[in-house]
């Protein structure tokens, strides 16, 4: 038997102690994504008929690479937080829920890293192309 009162238990373990940072992160990444995705969508439209070298050149420009990497970080963090809430709301078997959460994180972090490494590689490629040493 515990001598702790229900109120004490709630004060000590209640959700208000932590977790709010994820709620905030979801909103802050959303705010960051508003301009980033619009910029990316307009850029994609302007690149739709571009040659390979032009696409590489565009992604390789420092400003564009930087915004793309920021977009990817915000996007995948936002997606992880969103999918986590969906899984937590609809999967009620503890083992399945835990596995789903871990697999979801592994997959999305893997995708994020592949995407960011690709942008960095494209940026190096752009330098090579502009100096005439590339493929």
């Amino acid at each position: 038997m515990s001598l702790r009162s229900p109120l004490g238990r709630v004060r000590g373990l209640g959700s208000a102690k932590e977790g709010v940072q994820y709620w905030w992160a979801q909103r802050v990444t959303a705010l960051a994504l508003l301009p980033l995705v619009l910029w990316f969508m307009v850029s994609l439209l302007s690149l739709q008929h571009a040659e390979y070298a032009a696409v590489v050149d565009w992604i390789g420009r420092p400003f564009n690479s930087a915004l793309l990497i920021l977009l990817l970080i915000s996007l995948f963090y936002h997606a992880i937080l969103g999918l986590q809430v969906v899984i937590e709301d609809y999967v009620h078997t503890e083992a399945v829920k835990m596995s789903a959460l871990i697999i979801m994180r592994f997959v999305l972090i893997l995708l994020a890293v592949i995407a960011i490494i690709s942008v960095v590689r494209i940026a190096f490629k752009a330098v090579l192309l502009s100096t005439g040493a590339g493929d």
Partner: protein
């Protein structure tokens, strides 16, 4: 707790509040838009696969990029991209609606319905606007 270990017959038969999705409640614009926000979020998370594939193909080289352009331009992918565009604009617009709520604005019932209808209209208009520019 004792009351959880030995539920009496009466408390077991106590009626439960039915889940909001199903035959018990008439679907409302508010609830339909709410679940659509989640569904489009999940769809967009899946859609990141295309973004990552596109970036990885550019990083891999001109042949991989040409192949990716070919894969992405088949009619089935075109349809998927169209649906993803709508999902994106819906999630984008309704996300802004959510941010206003988070800031404490727009909770009056007429406003909630008005902003909901505006989100649906804007998402459709923006989707067609973008696809008019795809040629």
């Amino acid at each position: 707790m004792a009351s959880n270990e030995q539920p009496n017959a009466r408390s077991q038969k106590r009626p439960l509040s039915p889940f909001m999705i199903g035959p018990y409640y008439k679907p409302q614009l508010t609830s339909v838009l709410s679940i659509t926000h989640r569904l489009t979020g999940v769809a967009l998370a899946v859609g990141t696969l295309v973004l990552v594939y596109w970036l990885a193909a550019i990083a891999a080289g001109p042949e991989a990029y040409a192949h990716a352009q070919h894969v992405l331009s088949n009619p089935f992918m075109g349809l998927l991209l169209f649906l993803w565009t709508w999902a994106f604009f819906y999630h984008f617009c309704n996300g802004i609606r959510h941010l206003f709520w988070d800031a404490g604005y727009g909770f009056e019932i007429p406003t909630v319905y008005k902003s909901g209808k505006l989100v649906v209209a804007a998402s459709i208009v923006l989707t067609f606007l973008v696809w008019l520019l795809v040629a």
